[in-house]
Symmetry: C2
Subunit: 199 residues, 2 copies
DNA sequence: GTCTATATACTGATAGAC
DNA sequence: GTCTATCAGTATATAGAC
């Protein structure tokens, strides 16, 4: 049991799970599912390929684990309770600041792209996540509308589609040219004309 | 020489190049560079893998050929001379109507995503294309601004970043749910508040 | 220009020792 | 829980006949 529990914070060693998730993130994010190799991930996690498959019995299951690990982190980053209305939308547009930020963004971009194929191993997951995000943003707009922060002629579903698309596209631009992109600012500027606040 | 020239329109047979480009489009668009196999592409084009490599000496060169073939078609679709100002932007937001439309969109999405990695075989091409599109849209906004169609407080570089990102993101949404997406309409709605036209 | 055959390398996954 | 060894499959690319 001792090996399963999380180590004291500040300790040098990471749990096996942490090591594997980080290695999986690094490899899947830069090569996608198709381009990634279990041997590469295993080596980065400090164990053999067979050792890796002991923890996650297939490449697909490993990717699923990395994705749900990512989802957990993303949820936790939003805070508890998560923000509401326009606050949530601005929060989603903030780039994470950790050193692994780029990897998380890249993982999202590449898995989303690969996941558009119906025969992708985690196609269903990608589809559902896309719908879930869209729905979450739509609800946020509806809360904002109920609070009178949104101009009454704005359709919440449309606004959600536009903002989510914008974030996805700006993420890509940020990956290509981190210095030339301004994710948070551009989202804010796109949003502005829809708001009731005078500015 | 006879085999090189394009066949009479309406003829059943396609040139080898056409066959290979179409097969490459189909496979690369659904699996990306990493997930595609030359054998698969060759089989769809109706020849052996070695036969395919006679025309394009490596997988990378084949992808390059498919991408520049795609670029040619995209350019030609814009018309000659290409539209200007806001017309160009609205034109870019129109989905192509051919049966292979989905494949072209998917190729763009997956190659862009894979291409964010610095060690991707055609990373340089993807990067340059991204910059080229952004620049083209920025110029279009500047022409529109010069024609007085744009509100004077709109920054053209910002508008270009936002519109390009929006198109990329809406493309992705269209791939996931073709019925629920409205690429052309959403671009128009996002653009509207920036225009001088009263509506 | 197209083929078969092959070289060489790597893939995901399994078996079994420790 | 981790390893070595291995299997069967597939990959890209090349050689050489036709």
């Amino acid at each position: 049991m001792r090996t399963r529990g999380p180590r004291r914070p500040g300790t040098q060693t990471l749990s096996r799970r942490q090591q594997i998730m980080r290695a999986g993130l690094a490899v899947f994010s830069s090569a996608g599912f198709h381009g990634a190799s279990l041997r590469d991930i295993a080596a980065r996690a400090g164990l053999s390929q067979a050792g890796l498959l002991h923890h996650y019995p297939s490449k697909e299951r490993l990717l699923r684990a990395v994705l749900s690990w990512r989802d957990d982190k993303a949820c936790r980053r939003l805070g508890d309770p998560p923000p509401d209305g326009l606050d949530l939308i601005h929060r989603l547009a903030e780039r994470p600041t950790a050193a692994s930020a780029r990897e998380f963004v890249q993982l999202d971009v590449i898995v989303s792209a690969e996941g558009t194929s119906a025969d992708y191993p985690v196609h269903g997951y990608v589809l559902e996540r896309h719908a879930r995000v869209l729905e979450m943003v739509r609800r946020s707009f509806e809360r904002a509308a109920a609070a009178g922060e949104l101009r009454p002629d704005i359709d919440c579903a449309t606004a959600a589609r536009i903002v989510v698309a914008l974030m996805d596209g700006l993420q890509l631009q940020w990956l290509f040219r981190p210095d030339a992109a301004d994710v948070e600012g551009d989202v804010r500027r796109c949003l502005q004309p829809w708001l009731t606040t005078g500015l």
